[in-house]
Amino acid sequence: MIKLSQRLLGPVTLACLAATFVLGLWVTPEDRTQKNLVRLLYVHPPIAWVALYVSFGTATIASCLYLWRRTRSMTMDRIAYCAMEVSVVFIILTLITGSIWGRPTWGVWWAWDARLTSTAILGVFALAYLALRRANDDPTLRARRSAVFAILTAVNVPIIHFSVVWWKTLHQGASVLTSTGQLNVHGSMLLAMLLGFVGFTLLFFWLLRERYRLEVKRDARSIATLDEALALRRREGV
């Protein structure tokens, strides 16, 4: 079962994303005011959702699990690390798609808007996380420190989400899932969006899995070099 879903992850992701693109580019109608720009609706919000909630959620949960004594293991540390790395990619994509959307709608690539700024800051946060990892080379210490940092970072996610409420912003308010729980989008558009969300979420996990495997391989290699290093060191004695 698990094996099957493992094997299917890649193909399903690709299928979902392909369907999103087909629906988004050809099937769904043009918007009255936004014209073709509306098609970014199927890409930008899902990517942003992954960047904010899925990746930071994964990293935060893995970090908490690492810090909790009973579930502490290097696996959790590795997951957190890989999730954070993948999240950098998604945050950059969010910024790019947002900017592309912003240029025609707001007339600028970038604005001093609370959501945009906080998203960018979140991106630097993720980079800072990677910098912190580089600065520590004792694996346990690194794992602990980065776990604490990841948790502190997660605090920013709700701030970004509510930034549209707390500050007057250019950026779209919560329009898809409003506080009343009412859906504002219909028909093929809804389907395209939904597929987008599923597709990009799956894409995240796919990338995460590949990145994780790479990391495991790297660790395995370092275990192989461990024996070499030991032999080298012991030879010093004679």
């Binding site: 980079l127 800072a128 604490v148 701030i159």
Partner: protein
């Protein structure tokens, strides 16, 4: 925990009082930075008192970074870490103590900078006084969060440069909240929503610090 906190805070403040770094180096830096920021914006915007809160917090931020750095470097002298580590101090106490000392130092700095801001940036005096409680709470939050982040950078390569990267994103919401509440006080607006953010952050950082400082220190 409280006893350890008191011990550590007293130690940090004693070193501070002896070396006079705050008085002779940090405060002058803050005042000059305030003047310079005003200059960098040009007379038109700086004379205009609305820039006051923003600049005050910007300068406070850099001062805070300097002070955190110093607070942590006390623990990082070669040999010191190993010796102190084997004392087995309660990490929650160490955290509270260092945060407390840093809070006191930041309060002193903050008050001087506020005076400077009133004098050179024409920030309204009454509004500033009204904003004082919220400013003190914000500074305490910065101190608490800073102590936590300071411990994260301890011992690594070049902590002096890693610290700013780690803290700036975390300080950003605090600074915004602080700035808004200061502005609100100046213009007689509502304060409570900003208070809530800062207080929640203060409590959250304190809790996280008490729980997790040990994890960070244990290398």
């Amino acid at each position: 925990m409280i006893a350890v906190a008191r011990l550590v805070a007293a130690k940090d403040l004693r070193i501070e009082a002896r070396s006079r770094v705050l008085l002779w180096q940090v405060l002058p830096f803050g005042v000059i930075a305030l003047l310079l920021s005003g200059l960098a914006l040009g007379p038109a915007q700086a004379g205009n008192s609305s820039a006051g809160p923003g600049l005050f917090y910007l300068v406070t931020l850099f001062v805070t970074l300097l002070m955190i750095n110093r607070s942590q470097s006390l623990e990082n002298a070669p040999g010191t870490r190993a010796s102190v580590a084997t004392l087995g101090l309660d990490p929650a106490g160490v955290f509270l103590g260092k945060a407390l000392a840093l809070t006191v130092e930041l309060w002193v700095t903050g008050i001087v900078l506020l005076a400077g801001s009133v004098l050179v940036l024409h920030t309204a005096l009454i509004g500033t006084v009204q904003a004082l409680p919220s400013i003190l709470v914000t500074l305490a939050t910065l101190a608490v969060a800073g102590t936590l982040y300071g411990a994260l950078t301890q011992g690594g390569d070049g902590p002096a440069t890693l610290l700013p990267v780690l803290t700036l994103p975390a300080f950003a919401p605090l600074l915004i909240a602080g700035e808004r509440s200061f502005s609100a006080a100046l213009h007689g607006g509502a304060l409570w929503e900003w208070w809530v953010i800062v207080l929640v952050a203060l409590v959250a950082y304190t809790a996280v610090g008490i729980l997790l400082y040990g994890v960070l220190e244990e290398s």
